[in-house]
Assembly symmetry: C2
Homo-oligomer: 183 residues x 2
């Protein structure tokens, strides 16, 4: 008979994809499975107030466009690099969510024998997919040649990998990657 635990379906509890991934990465770190961190948001600092003796206060700064992806690190000798994206679109993922620099960066990573991918979350249905860089580039290059500007959920289910949300880790993308790359 099935164990009752099998029936438990975890929900997102209103956490963002970023919060879930940060918890996941903390789990990997605490368990010696990987060292993967989110990069800080790139900010151009224009004016800092040092008047208060204890704390410098940034009084004027601007968001800069990221030239790389959000997350990178290492697991068992393999370099891992990925971008996380959420969409409210219920049926397909719009490629305009990427900047050309992020795609170029992922291509450079794969050329250096690293592992690059994207984690896409559909926020209305809470479905999560992992798509390897090599597949993402096909859709991107196709778009640049006048093709479709999105990836359908069906295509993600076919060419990518669905990830069920869990308790700990919340989004076990490392399991998918370790299977795909046998490490």
């Amino acid at each position: 008979a099935d164990s009752p635990n099998k029936e438990i379906i975890y929900s997102n509890r209103g956490m963002t994809l970023e919060e879930d991934l940060n918890e996941t990465n903390q789990y990997y770190l605490a368990n010696g499975l990987a060292v993967i961190h989110k990069k800080p948001t790139p900010v151009q600092i224009v004016h800092v107030d040092y008047a208060k003796r204890s704390t410098a206060v940034i009084k004027e700064a601007y968001f800069r466009q990221a030239s790389t992806t959000d997350y990178n690190g290492i697991s068992n000798g393999r370099y891992i690099d990925f971008e996380a994206k959420e969409t409210k679109n219920p049926t397909s993922f719009p490629l305009k969510n990427f900047h050309v620099h992020q795609i170029e960066h992922m291509k450079n990573v794969i050329n250096q024998n690293g592992i690059a991918f994207v984690i896409i979350r559909f926020s209305t249905s809470e479905e999560i997919f992992l798509l390897e860089g090599e597949y993402l580039f096909r859709y991107w290059d196709c778009m640049e040649n006048g093709g479709r500007k999105s990836i359908t959920k069906e295509e993600l289910a076919t060419y990518g990998h669905s990830i069920e949300i869990g308790w700990a880790p919340r989004i076990d993308y490392l399991k998918v990657i370790r299977n795909l790359y046998s490490f």
Copy 2:
């Protein structure tokens, strides 16, 4: 006879260690040798003004302490992670320039089979040394057990690797690492 080019000694031209390393990393990227970037400065954003239609202005933010190192990336399948430090001390490098989190991070990286090291620049003499994490940890752990709070320049010359400043790349740390780790 020696070629006249051999006599050229490049100087720092007033550039900071960070600027030199960014140029170096751009050289590596442009030549397909490595994909290594500096992480953005971690900032806690408290207040953003969206009043101007075109640009969000960060009006209040604070510097956060970095929990990892400054630079990471990949070269030929190897994960690379390092911290860059400058000191005005002419004869030794004070270990208080590190936070305990940065040391822990470098230990975690090496446990995952990554390459972790520090690049130290003595700003008065413009001398640059690369010291592998494994050696840095010995000095750090010794200090934590009541030992000396610094690494002398002689020790860096003995256990580390001197790097001459060049034209392109400016600080060829990858050559040192590729020799040490044979890749």
